[in-house]
Symmetry: C2
Subunit: 309 residues, 2 copies
Protein backbone atom coordinates (compact mmCIF):
# COMPACT_ATOMS: atom_id res chain seq x y z
CA UNK A 1 0.00 0.00 0.00
CA UNK A 2 1.07 3.48 -0.88
CA UNK A 3 0.56 4.88 2.59
CA UNK A 4 2.37 2.29 4.67
CA UNK A 5 5.54 4.34 4.83
CA UNK A 6 3.93 7.24 6.68
CA UNK A 7 2.29 4.84 9.10
CA UNK A 8 5.68 3.31 9.87
CA UNK A 9 7.12 6.77 10.37
CA UNK A 10 4.37 7.69 12.84
CA UNK A 11 5.34 4.63 14.83
CA UNK A 12 8.81 6.07 15.47
CA UNK A 13 7.58 9.11 17.43
CA UNK A 14 7.64 7.21 20.73
CA UNK A 15 11.32 6.40 20.24
CA UNK A 16 12.09 9.99 19.27
CA UNK A 17 10.98 11.10 22.74
CA UNK A 18 14.01 9.22 24.11
CA UNK A 19 16.42 10.93 21.72
CA UNK A 20 18.80 12.50 24.22
CA UNK A 21 21.28 14.62 22.27
CA UNK A 22 21.46 18.23 23.32
CA UNK A 23 23.40 21.42 22.84
CA UNK A 24 26.27 22.70 24.96
CA UNK A 25 25.65 26.40 25.32
CA UNK A 26 28.57 27.86 27.25
CA UNK A 27 27.94 31.53 26.52
CA UNK A 28 25.38 33.77 28.17
CA UNK A 29 22.57 34.93 25.96
CA UNK A 30 19.73 37.42 26.35
CA UNK A 31 17.23 36.10 23.86
CA UNK A 32 16.56 33.24 21.46
CA UNK A 33 15.60 33.15 17.79
CA UNK A 34 14.43 29.85 16.35
CA UNK A 35 14.43 29.72 12.55
CA UNK A 36 12.48 27.05 10.72
CA UNK A 37 9.67 26.48 8.25
CA UNK A 38 6.65 24.20 8.24
CA UNK A 39 7.26 20.87 9.98
CA UNK A 40 10.60 22.17 11.25
CA UNK A 41 9.29 25.61 12.25
CA UNK A 42 6.59 24.14 14.47
CA UNK A 43 9.38 22.92 16.74
CA UNK A 44 10.30 26.49 17.63
CA UNK A 45 6.66 27.44 18.11
CA UNK A 46 6.04 24.60 20.54
CA UNK A 47 9.28 25.40 22.39
CA UNK A 48 8.27 29.07 22.70
CA UNK A 49 5.15 28.05 24.63
CA UNK A 50 7.06 25.78 27.03
CA UNK A 51 10.02 28.03 27.78
CA UNK A 52 9.73 31.53 29.16
CA UNK A 53 13.06 32.19 30.87
CA UNK A 54 14.13 34.39 27.95
CA UNK A 55 12.31 35.92 25.00
CA UNK A 56 11.96 33.46 22.13
CA UNK A 57 11.12 34.67 18.64
CA UNK A 58 10.28 32.13 15.96
CA UNK A 59 11.11 33.15 12.41
CA UNK A 60 9.35 31.21 9.67
CA UNK A 61 10.55 33.61 7.01
CA UNK A 62 13.75 35.00 5.44
CA UNK A 63 14.83 37.73 7.85
CA UNK A 64 16.73 37.65 11.12
CA UNK A 65 15.44 40.35 13.51
CA UNK A 66 17.71 43.38 13.64
CA UNK A 67 18.32 43.07 17.40
CA UNK A 68 20.07 39.72 17.02
CA UNK A 69 23.70 40.07 18.12
CA UNK A 70 26.41 38.16 19.98
CA UNK A 71 24.05 37.80 22.95
CA UNK A 72 21.38 36.14 20.81
CA UNK A 73 21.14 32.38 20.58
CA UNK A 74 19.95 31.42 17.09
CA UNK A 75 18.71 27.86 16.62
CA UNK A 76 18.26 26.83 13.00
CA UNK A 77 15.93 23.89 12.51
CA UNK A 78 15.70 22.30 9.08
CA UNK A 79 15.13 18.62 8.58
CA UNK A 80 16.61 18.57 5.08
CA UNK A 81 19.27 21.15 5.89
CA UNK A 82 18.50 22.86 2.59
CA UNK A 83 15.54 25.14 3.40
CA UNK A 84 16.22 28.46 1.66
CA UNK A 85 14.49 30.66 4.24
CA UNK A 86 16.32 29.04 7.17
CA UNK A 87 19.68 29.24 5.40
CA UNK A 88 19.00 32.93 4.78
CA UNK A 89 18.41 33.53 8.50
CA UNK A 90 21.49 31.50 9.48
CA UNK A 91 23.68 33.45 7.07
CA UNK A 92 22.55 36.67 8.71
CA UNK A 93 23.15 35.12 12.15
CA UNK A 94 26.71 34.35 11.15
CA UNK A 95 27.28 37.95 10.03
CA UNK A 96 25.79 39.29 13.28
CA UNK A 97 28.06 37.03 15.37
CA UNK A 98 25.11 35.31 17.00
CA UNK A 99 25.61 32.18 19.07
CA UNK A 100 24.34 29.85 16.37
CA UNK A 101 23.44 26.18 16.54
CA UNK A 102 21.46 23.90 14.23
CA UNK A 103 19.34 20.77 14.11
CA UNK A 104 19.32 18.94 10.80
CA UNK A 105 19.70 15.56 9.18
CA UNK A 106 22.30 16.88 6.73
CA UNK A 107 22.28 19.18 3.71
CA UNK A 108 23.99 22.53 3.41
CA UNK A 109 23.29 23.53 6.99
CA UNK A 110 25.29 20.60 8.37
CA UNK A 111 28.33 22.07 6.60
CA UNK A 112 27.98 25.66 7.79
CA UNK A 113 30.23 25.12 10.80
CA UNK A 114 27.71 25.51 13.61
CA UNK A 115 27.38 23.26 16.61
CA UNK A 116 24.86 20.84 15.11
CA UNK A 117 22.64 18.10 16.48
CA UNK A 118 22.51 15.57 13.66
CA UNK A 119 19.26 13.64 13.55
CA UNK A 120 18.37 10.51 11.58
CA UNK A 121 17.46 11.09 7.92
CA UNK A 122 15.02 9.33 5.62
CA UNK A 123 11.81 10.49 7.28
CA UNK A 124 9.35 13.19 6.32
CA UNK A 125 10.21 16.38 8.23
CA UNK A 126 6.75 16.28 9.81
CA UNK A 127 7.40 12.74 11.05
CA UNK A 128 10.52 13.90 12.89
CA UNK A 129 8.97 16.27 15.38
CA UNK A 130 10.47 14.42 18.33
CA UNK A 131 13.98 14.33 16.86
CA UNK A 132 13.87 18.08 16.26
CA UNK A 133 12.05 19.12 19.43
CA UNK A 134 13.73 16.99 22.09
CA UNK A 135 17.27 18.39 21.69
CA UNK A 136 15.91 21.89 22.35
CA UNK A 137 13.72 20.80 25.27
CA UNK A 138 16.53 18.68 26.74
CA UNK A 139 18.89 21.65 26.60
CA UNK A 140 16.56 24.12 28.32
CA UNK A 141 14.06 22.16 30.39
CA UNK A 142 14.50 19.37 32.86
CA UNK A 143 12.83 16.36 31.28
CA UNK A 144 13.17 13.32 33.50
CA UNK A 145 13.45 9.76 32.32
CA UNK A 146 10.16 9.07 34.04
CA UNK A 147 8.46 11.62 31.82
CA UNK A 148 10.13 10.20 28.73
CA UNK A 149 9.11 6.67 29.71
CA UNK A 150 5.52 7.59 30.43
CA UNK A 151 5.32 9.46 27.13
CA UNK A 152 6.83 6.48 25.32
CA UNK A 153 4.21 4.17 26.82
CA UNK A 154 1.35 6.49 25.96
CA UNK A 155 2.44 6.85 22.35
CA UNK A 156 3.00 3.12 22.11
CA UNK A 157 -0.58 2.52 23.19
CA UNK A 158 -1.75 4.98 20.56
CA UNK A 159 0.28 3.15 17.90
CA UNK A 160 -1.46 -0.08 18.90
CA UNK A 161 -4.95 1.38 18.96
CA UNK A 162 -5.86 4.48 17.01
CA UNK A 163 -9.53 3.65 16.55
CA UNK A 164 -10.70 6.87 18.25
CA UNK A 165 -8.60 8.91 15.86
CA UNK A 166 -10.04 6.90 12.98
CA UNK A 167 -13.56 7.72 14.20
CA UNK A 168 -12.85 11.42 14.10
CA UNK A 169 -11.38 11.03 10.62
CA UNK A 170 -14.54 9.24 9.55
CA UNK A 171 -16.74 12.00 10.93
CA UNK A 172 -14.75 14.62 9.03
CA UNK A 173 -14.82 12.50 5.87
CA UNK A 174 -18.54 11.79 5.97
CA UNK A 175 -19.40 15.45 6.31
CA UNK A 176 -16.61 16.53 3.94
CA UNK A 177 -15.81 18.99 6.68
CA UNK A 178 -12.98 21.46 7.08
CA UNK A 179 -11.34 21.08 10.51
CA UNK A 180 -10.93 24.12 12.74
CA UNK A 181 -8.75 23.15 15.69
CA UNK A 182 -9.04 25.21 18.87
CA UNK A 183 -6.06 24.99 21.20
CA UNK A 184 -5.02 26.75 24.39
CA UNK A 185 -1.76 27.57 26.18
CA UNK A 186 0.67 25.77 26.18
CA UNK A 187 -0.78 23.76 23.29
CA UNK A 188 -1.90 26.55 20.95
CA UNK A 189 0.75 25.58 18.44
CA UNK A 190 -0.18 21.92 18.68
CA UNK A 191 -3.48 23.01 17.17
CA UNK A 192 -1.46 24.54 14.33
CA UNK A 193 0.45 21.25 14.03
CA UNK A 194 -2.89 19.48 13.45
CA UNK A 195 -3.73 22.02 10.76
CA UNK A 196 -0.47 21.35 8.93
CA UNK A 197 -0.89 17.58 9.26
CA UNK A 198 -4.34 17.83 7.67
CA UNK A 199 -2.81 19.95 4.90
CA UNK A 200 0.10 17.66 4.15
CA UNK A 201 -1.19 14.19 5.00
CA UNK A 202 -4.89 14.49 4.13
CA UNK A 203 -4.58 17.23 1.46
CA UNK A 204 -7.44 19.22 2.92
CA UNK A 205 -7.66 22.78 4.12
CA UNK A 206 -7.68 23.12 7.90
CA UNK A 207 -7.21 25.98 10.32
CA UNK A 208 -6.32 26.62 13.94
CA UNK A 209 -6.93 29.22 16.59
CA UNK A 210 -6.84 29.21 20.38
CA UNK A 211 -8.74 30.20 23.48
CA UNK A 212 -9.07 32.91 24.72
CA UNK A 213 -8.09 34.85 21.55
CA UNK A 214 -10.83 33.33 19.41
CA UNK A 215 -13.41 34.65 21.88
CA UNK A 216 -12.61 38.13 20.61
CA UNK A 217 -13.38 37.52 16.94
CA UNK A 218 -14.28 34.04 15.63
CA UNK A 219 -16.99 33.68 18.27
CA UNK A 220 -19.12 36.12 16.26
CA UNK A 221 -18.83 33.93 13.16
CA UNK A 222 -19.07 30.29 14.25
CA UNK A 223 -22.86 30.11 14.50
CA UNK A 224 -23.74 32.66 11.84
CA UNK A 225 -21.29 32.08 9.02
CA UNK A 226 -22.44 30.86 5.67
CA UNK A 227 -21.26 27.30 5.00
CA UNK A 228 -21.94 26.75 8.68
CA UNK A 229 -22.13 22.98 8.47
CA UNK A 230 -18.93 22.52 6.55
CA UNK A 231 -16.66 23.02 9.53
CA UNK A 232 -15.60 20.44 12.07
CA UNK A 233 -14.70 22.26 15.26
CA UNK A 234 -12.21 20.33 17.34
CA UNK A 235 -11.53 21.72 20.81
CA UNK A 236 -8.67 20.55 22.96
CA UNK A 237 -9.76 20.08 26.57
CA UNK A 238 -7.98 19.72 29.89
CA UNK A 239 -6.56 23.17 30.50
CA UNK A 240 -5.24 23.74 34.02
CA UNK A 241 -6.85 27.20 33.82
CA UNK A 242 -10.54 26.84 34.65
CA UNK A 243 -11.32 30.15 32.94
CA UNK A 244 -10.27 28.48 29.70
CA UNK A 245 -12.39 25.39 30.35
CA UNK A 246 -15.37 27.60 31.07
CA UNK A 247 -14.72 29.63 27.92
CA UNK A 248 -14.78 26.49 25.79
CA UNK A 249 -18.09 25.36 27.25
CA UNK A 250 -19.77 28.75 27.03
CA UNK A 251 -18.53 29.38 23.50
CA UNK A 252 -20.17 26.18 22.34
CA UNK A 253 -23.44 27.17 24.05
CA UNK A 254 -23.46 30.75 22.80
CA UNK A 255 -22.67 29.85 19.21
CA UNK A 256 -25.02 26.86 19.24
CA UNK A 257 -22.35 24.65 17.70
CA UNK A 258 -21.00 21.41 19.17
CA UNK A 259 -17.26 21.01 19.36
CA UNK A 260 -15.60 17.64 19.01
CA UNK A 261 -13.53 17.39 22.18
CA UNK A 262 -10.09 15.89 22.53
CA UNK A 263 -8.84 15.87 26.11
CA UNK A 264 -5.11 16.03 26.69
CA UNK A 265 -4.12 12.81 28.48
CA UNK A 266 -1.03 12.44 30.60
CA UNK A 267 0.65 13.33 33.87
CA UNK A 268 3.06 15.96 32.54
CA UNK A 269 3.03 18.77 30.02
CA UNK A 270 5.36 16.77 27.78
CA UNK A 271 3.16 13.69 27.86
CA UNK A 272 0.03 15.73 27.14
CA UNK A 273 1.82 17.55 24.36
CA UNK A 274 2.88 14.40 22.56
CA UNK A 275 -0.50 12.80 23.16
CA UNK A 276 -2.22 15.69 21.39
CA UNK A 277 0.37 15.75 18.61
CA UNK A 278 0.06 12.03 17.96
CA UNK A 279 -3.72 12.15 18.08
CA UNK A 280 -3.67 14.64 15.23
CA UNK A 281 -1.11 12.57 13.37
CA UNK A 282 -3.45 9.59 13.29
CA UNK A 283 -6.60 11.55 12.48
CA UNK A 284 -4.86 13.08 9.46
CA UNK A 285 -3.42 9.72 8.44
CA UNK A 286 -6.78 7.97 8.55
CA UNK A 287 -8.43 10.80 6.69
CA UNK A 288 -5.87 10.36 3.91
CA UNK A 289 -6.75 6.68 3.70
CA UNK A 290 -10.47 7.44 3.59
CA UNK A 291 -9.90 9.99 0.84
CA UNK A 292 -7.64 7.58 -0.99
CA UNK A 293 -4.80 10.09 -1.20
CA UNK A 294 -1.17 9.32 -0.43
CA UNK A 295 -0.28 10.85 2.98
CA UNK A 296 3.40 10.63 2.07
CA UNK A 297 3.06 12.77 -1.06
CA UNK A 298 4.38 16.36 -0.89
CA UNK A 299 5.06 16.69 -4.60
CA UNK A 300 3.63 20.20 -4.95
CA UNK A 301 5.86 21.55 -2.21
CA UNK A 302 8.83 19.89 -3.91
CA UNK A 303 7.79 21.19 -7.33
CA UNK A 304 7.58 24.73 -5.95
CA UNK A 305 11.09 24.46 -4.50
CA UNK A 306 12.35 23.32 -7.89
CA UNK A 307 10.70 26.18 -9.74
CA UNK A 308 12.16 28.66 -7.28
CA UNK A 309 15.65 27.19 -7.53
CA UNK B 1 -29.94 52.00 8.77
CA UNK B 2 -28.49 49.67 11.34
CA UNK B 3 -25.02 49.67 9.91
CA UNK B 4 -24.40 53.37 9.44
CA UNK B 5 -22.51 53.64 12.70
CA UNK B 6 -19.74 51.28 11.66
CA UNK B 7 -19.42 53.08 8.33
CA UNK B 8 -18.97 56.38 10.16
CA UNK B 9 -16.38 54.79 12.43
CA UNK B 10 -14.41 53.50 9.43
CA UNK B 11 -14.28 57.08 8.18
CA UNK B 12 -12.29 58.13 11.26
CA UNK B 13 -9.28 55.93 10.52
CA UNK B 14 -7.62 58.61 8.37
CA UNK B 15 -7.75 61.05 11.29
CA UNK B 16 -6.41 58.43 13.68
CA UNK B 17 -3.21 58.30 11.64
CA UNK B 18 -2.53 61.87 12.78
CA UNK B 19 -3.06 61.01 16.45
CA UNK B 20 0.29 62.09 17.86
CA UNK B 21 0.34 61.15 21.55
CA UNK B 22 3.21 58.97 22.56
CA UNK B 23 4.98 57.46 25.55
CA UNK B 24 7.95 58.88 27.40
CA UNK B 25 10.15 55.90 28.13
CA UNK B 26 13.07 57.13 30.21
CA UNK B 27 14.39 53.78 31.39
CA UNK B 28 16.46 51.33 29.39
CA UNK B 29 14.75 48.09 28.54
CA UNK B 30 15.89 44.81 26.99
CA UNK B 31 12.67 43.50 25.58
CA UNK B 32 9.02 44.36 25.04
CA UNK B 33 5.80 42.53 25.86
CA UNK B 34 2.58 43.81 24.33
CA UNK B 35 -0.57 42.47 25.98
CA UNK B 36 -3.90 42.71 24.20
CA UNK B 37 -6.76 40.66 22.82
CA UNK B 38 -8.64 40.71 19.50
CA UNK B 39 -8.91 44.18 17.98
CA UNK B 40 -6.52 45.52 20.62
CA UNK B 41 -4.08 42.61 20.39
CA UNK B 42 -3.60 43.06 16.65
CA UNK B 43 -1.89 46.35 17.45
CA UNK B 44 0.98 44.52 19.14
CA UNK B 45 1.18 41.98 16.32
CA UNK B 46 1.47 44.68 13.66
CA UNK B 47 4.04 46.55 15.77
CA UNK B 48 6.12 43.38 16.18
CA UNK B 49 6.53 43.15 12.41
CA UNK B 50 7.60 46.78 12.03
CA UNK B 51 10.02 47.03 14.95
CA UNK B 52 13.01 44.78 15.38
CA UNK B 53 15.41 46.75 17.59
CA UNK B 54 14.45 44.59 20.59
CA UNK B 55 12.54 41.34 21.01
CA UNK B 56 8.78 41.93 21.08
CA UNK B 57 6.44 39.25 22.41
CA UNK B 58 2.71 39.68 21.97
CA UNK B 59 0.55 38.03 24.62
CA UNK B 60 -3.08 37.48 23.69
CA UNK B 61 -3.69 35.36 26.75
CA UNK B 62 -3.56 35.48 30.56
CA UNK B 63 0.09 34.94 31.39
CA UNK B 64 3.07 37.28 31.44
CA UNK B 65 6.24 35.45 30.33
CA UNK B 66 8.46 34.48 33.24
CA UNK B 67 11.46 36.47 31.95
CA UNK B 68 9.64 39.79 32.29
CA UNK B 69 11.43 41.92 34.87
CA UNK B 70 12.41 45.55 35.54
CA UNK B 71 14.19 45.63 32.17
CA UNK B 72 11.01 44.61 30.34
CA UNK B 73 8.69 47.19 28.83
CA UNK B 74 5.12 45.95 29.06
CA UNK B 75 2.54 47.75 26.93
CA UNK B 76 -1.06 46.91 27.80
CA UNK B 77 -3.53 47.64 25.02
CA UNK B 78 -7.23 47.41 25.78
CA UNK B 79 -9.77 49.66 24.16
CA UNK B 80 -12.34 49.19 26.91
CA UNK B 81 -9.78 49.04 29.69
CA UNK B 82 -11.65 46.09 31.16
CA UNK B 83 -10.32 43.07 29.25
CA UNK B 84 -9.76 40.33 31.82
CA UNK B 85 -6.80 38.68 30.09
CA UNK B 86 -4.97 42.00 29.65
CA UNK B 87 -5.61 43.03 33.25
CA UNK B 88 -4.23 39.67 34.37
CA UNK B 89 -1.00 40.30 32.43
CA UNK B 90 -0.73 43.88 33.74
CA UNK B 91 -1.18 42.71 37.34
CA UNK B 92 1.71 40.31 36.89
CA UNK B 93 3.76 43.08 35.25
CA UNK B 94 3.22 45.24 38.32
CA UNK B 95 4.41 42.43 40.61
CA UNK B 96 7.49 41.86 38.46
CA UNK B 97 8.37 45.57 38.50
CA UNK B 98 8.18 45.83 34.75
CA UNK B 99 8.23 49.24 33.06
CA UNK B 100 4.53 49.26 32.36
CA UNK B 101 2.45 51.57 30.17
CA UNK B 102 -1.03 51.32 28.74
CA UNK B 103 -3.28 52.44 25.91
CA UNK B 104 -6.97 52.55 26.69
CA UNK B 105 -10.09 54.68 26.46
CA UNK B 106 -10.84 54.20 30.17
CA UNK B 107 -12.03 51.34 32.35
CA UNK B 108 -10.10 49.65 35.12
CA UNK B 109 -6.78 49.87 33.33
CA UNK B 110 -6.90 53.68 33.26
CA UNK B 111 -6.94 53.59 37.06
CA UNK B 112 -4.06 51.16 37.58
CA UNK B 113 -1.49 53.93 37.87
CA UNK B 114 0.51 53.33 34.72
CA UNK B 115 1.66 55.96 32.26
CA UNK B 116 -1.35 55.80 29.98
CA UNK B 117 -2.19 57.14 26.54
CA UNK B 118 -5.89 57.88 26.75
CA UNK B 119 -7.70 57.51 23.43
CA UNK B 120 -11.18 58.61 22.42
CA UNK B 121 -13.99 56.30 23.55
CA UNK B 122 -17.29 55.41 21.93
CA UNK B 123 -15.93 53.41 19.01
CA UNK B 124 -15.72 49.70 18.45
CA UNK B 125 -12.24 48.50 19.48
CA UNK B 126 -11.69 47.26 15.92
CA UNK B 127 -12.50 50.74 14.58
CA UNK B 128 -9.75 52.28 16.73
CA UNK B 129 -6.73 50.57 15.24
CA UNK B 130 -5.07 53.90 14.45
CA UNK B 131 -5.61 55.33 17.92
CA UNK B 132 -4.08 52.24 19.49
CA UNK B 133 -1.28 51.65 16.99
CA UNK B 134 0.04 55.17 16.37
CA UNK B 135 1.17 55.91 19.96
CA UNK B 136 3.37 52.81 19.86
CA UNK B 137 4.71 53.50 16.37
CA UNK B 138 5.28 57.19 17.20
CA UNK B 139 7.27 56.22 20.28
CA UNK B 140 9.56 53.74 18.56
CA UNK B 141 9.68 54.60 14.87
CA UNK B 142 10.26 57.85 13.07
CA UNK B 143 7.00 58.60 11.30
CA UNK B 144 7.21 61.87 9.42
CA UNK B 145 4.34 64.25 8.87
CA UNK B 146 4.70 63.59 5.15
CA UNK B 147 3.97 59.93 5.72
CA UNK B 148 1.00 60.76 7.93
CA UNK B 149 -0.34 63.19 5.35
CA UNK B 150 0.07 60.80 2.44
CA UNK B 151 -1.63 58.07 4.45
CA UNK B 152 -4.46 60.44 5.38
CA UNK B 153 -5.02 61.27 1.70
CA UNK B 154 -5.01 57.66 0.64
CA UNK B 155 -7.52 56.63 3.29
CA UNK B 156 -9.66 59.64 2.45
CA UNK B 157 -9.81 58.51 -1.16
CA UNK B 158 -10.82 55.06 -0.02
CA UNK B 159 -13.58 56.54 2.14
CA UNK B 160 -14.88 58.35 -0.93
CA UNK B 161 -14.72 55.38 -3.26
CA UNK B 162 -14.78 51.84 -1.96
CA UNK B 163 -16.30 50.25 -5.02
CA UNK B 164 -13.39 47.86 -5.56
CA UNK B 165 -13.79 46.59 -2.03
CA UNK B 166 -17.51 46.20 -2.66
CA UNK B 167 -16.77 44.13 -5.75
CA UNK B 168 -14.68 41.72 -3.75
CA UNK B 169 -17.43 41.51 -1.13
CA UNK B 170 -19.89 40.70 -3.89
CA UNK B 171 -17.68 37.96 -5.27
CA UNK B 172 -17.40 36.38 -1.82
CA UNK B 173 -21.13 36.74 -1.26
CA UNK B 174 -22.18 35.26 -4.59
CA UNK B 175 -20.04 32.19 -4.06
CA UNK B 176 -20.84 32.05 -0.34
CA UNK B 177 -17.11 31.67 -0.01
CA UNK B 178 -14.87 31.52 3.04
CA UNK B 179 -11.98 34.00 2.70
CA UNK B 180 -8.41 32.79 3.19
CA UNK B 181 -6.12 35.81 3.26
CA UNK B 182 -2.47 35.31 2.38
CA UNK B 183 -0.11 37.97 3.68
CA UNK B 184 3.65 38.44 3.75
CA UNK B 185 6.17 40.30 5.91
CA UNK B 186 5.66 42.96 7.23
CA UNK B 187 1.93 42.59 6.57
CA UNK B 188 1.34 39.01 7.76
CA UNK B 189 -0.73 40.26 10.67
CA UNK B 190 -2.72 42.58 8.44
CA UNK B 191 -3.98 39.37 6.83
CA UNK B 192 -5.07 38.28 10.32
CA UNK B 193 -6.73 41.67 10.79
CA UNK B 194 -8.83 40.93 7.66
CA UNK B 195 -9.77 37.57 9.14
CA UNK B 196 -11.00 39.19 12.34
CA UNK B 197 -12.90 41.89 10.45
CA UNK B 198 -14.72 39.21 8.45
CA UNK B 199 -15.49 37.43 11.73
CA UNK B 200 -16.81 40.47 13.57
CA UNK B 201 -18.28 42.66 10.83
CA UNK B 202 -19.53 40.07 8.34
CA UNK B 203 -20.12 37.21 10.79
CA UNK B 204 -18.40 34.69 8.57
CA UNK B 205 -15.51 32.36 9.19
CA UNK B 206 -12.26 33.51 7.60
CA UNK B 207 -8.63 32.55 7.97
CA UNK B 208 -5.18 33.92 7.32
CA UNK B 209 -1.72 32.62 6.62
CA UNK B 210 1.39 34.09 5.00
CA UNK B 211 4.08 33.47 2.44
CA UNK B 212 6.52 31.73 2.63
CA UNK B 213 5.19 29.64 5.58
CA UNK B 214 2.08 28.47 3.72
CA UNK B 215 4.31 26.98 1.03
CA UNK B 216 5.35 24.35 3.54
CA UNK B 217 1.89 22.99 4.32
CA UNK B 218 -1.27 24.62 2.87
CA UNK B 219 0.16 24.39 -0.64
CA UNK B 220 -0.55 20.63 -0.56
CA UNK B 221 -4.22 21.28 0.25
CA UNK B 222 -5.37 24.27 -1.80
CA UNK B 223 -6.01 22.43 -5.06
CA UNK B 224 -6.93 19.03 -3.65
CA UNK B 225 -9.08 19.76 -0.61
CA UNK B 226 -12.69 18.79 -0.51
CA UNK B 227 -14.97 21.82 -0.58
CA UNK B 228 -12.40 23.24 -2.97
CA UNK B 229 -14.69 25.89 -4.44
CA UNK B 230 -15.87 27.27 -1.15
CA UNK B 231 -12.73 29.25 -0.44
CA UNK B 232 -11.89 32.71 -1.70
CA UNK B 233 -8.11 33.04 -1.71
CA UNK B 234 -7.01 36.62 -1.34
CA UNK B 235 -3.30 37.27 -1.82
CA UNK B 236 -1.63 40.53 -0.88
CA UNK B 237 0.84 41.62 -3.56
CA UNK B 238 3.66 44.13 -3.73
CA UNK B 239 6.35 42.56 -1.56
CA UNK B 240 9.78 44.17 -1.85
CA UNK B 241 11.21 40.62 -1.77
CA UNK B 242 10.96 39.20 -5.27
CA UNK B 243 11.24 35.64 -3.89
CA UNK B 244 7.89 36.24 -2.22
CA UNK B 245 6.31 37.63 -5.39
CA UNK B 246 7.54 34.62 -7.31
CA UNK B 247 6.21 32.27 -4.61
CA UNK B 248 2.74 33.79 -4.90
CA UNK B 249 2.66 33.35 -8.67
CA UNK B 250 4.03 29.82 -8.66
CA UNK B 251 1.75 28.71 -5.83
CA UNK B 252 -1.27 29.75 -7.85
CA UNK B 253 0.02 27.87 -10.91
CA UNK B 254 0.98 24.71 -9.03
CA UNK B 255 -2.29 24.47 -7.12
CA UNK B 256 -4.37 25.41 -10.15
CA UNK B 257 -6.31 27.97 -8.13
CA UNK B 258 -6.65 31.66 -8.92
CA UNK B 259 -5.98 34.11 -6.10
CA UNK B 260 -7.79 37.41 -5.84
CA UNK B 261 -4.96 39.92 -5.67
CA UNK B 262 -4.82 43.06 -3.59
CA UNK B 263 -1.68 45.08 -4.19
CA UNK B 264 -0.39 47.25 -1.35
CA UNK B 265 -0.53 50.86 -2.55
CA UNK B 266 1.59 53.64 -1.11
CA UNK B 267 5.06 55.11 -0.89
CA UNK B 268 5.89 54.00 2.63
CA UNK B 269 5.40 50.93 4.79
CA UNK B 270 2.92 52.86 6.95
CA UNK B 271 0.86 53.99 3.95
CA UNK B 272 0.80 50.47 2.50
CA UNK B 273 -0.10 49.06 5.89
CA UNK B 274 -3.10 51.31 6.38
CA UNK B 275 -4.16 50.87 2.76
CA UNK B 276 -4.33 47.12 3.24
CA UNK B 277 -6.06 47.45 6.61
CA UNK B 278 -8.69 49.80 5.26
CA UNK B 279 -9.26 47.69 2.17
CA UNK B 280 -10.20 44.78 4.41
CA UNK B 281 -12.36 47.04 6.56
CA UNK B 282 -14.51 47.96 3.57
CA UNK B 283 -14.70 44.46 2.11
CA UNK B 284 -15.97 43.14 5.45
CA UNK B 285 -18.37 46.06 5.82
CA UNK B 286 -19.90 45.56 2.37
CA UNK B 287 -20.17 41.85 2.93
CA UNK B 288 -22.16 42.53 6.10
CA UNK B 289 -24.54 44.72 4.08
CA UNK B 290 -24.93 42.06 1.40
CA UNK B 291 -25.66 39.44 4.05
CA UNK B 292 -28.02 41.80 5.81
CA UNK B 293 -26.26 41.41 9.15
CA UNK B 294 -25.35 44.27 11.47
CA UNK B 295 -21.58 44.89 11.22
CA UNK B 296 -21.73 46.73 14.54
CA UNK B 297 -23.15 43.77 16.48
CA UNK B 298 -20.78 41.90 18.81
CA UNK B 299 -23.48 40.63 21.15
CA UNK B 300 -22.12 37.09 21.45
CA UNK B 301 -18.71 38.35 22.54
CA UNK B 302 -20.44 40.57 25.10
CA UNK B 303 -22.69 37.75 26.27
CA UNK B 304 -19.68 35.52 26.80
CA UNK B 305 -17.97 38.18 28.91
CA UNK B 306 -21.10 38.47 31.02
CA UNK B 307 -21.34 34.73 31.58
CA UNK B 308 -17.70 34.61 32.60
CA UNK B 309 -18.03 37.54 34.99
Amino acid sequence: MLDDKLLRELGTLKDQVRFSKKFTIDKDFDNVVVAGMGGSGIVGRIFSELYSEKPVEVVSDYQLPKYANDRTLVIGVSYSGNTEETISVLNQAQKNNCITVAITSGGKISGMGFQTVLIPGGLQPRSSLGYMLMPILSTFLDITNNVRDATFERLKNMDEDHSKEEMLALEIFKGQRIPVIMGFFPFSWVAYRWKTQFNENSKIMAFSNYFPELNHNETMAIGDTFRRDMFEYIAFRGSSNNRIEKRIEETSKITGVDFYQVTAEGNSIIEKLFFLVHYGDYVSYHLAKLRNVDPQDVSKIELLKKRLA
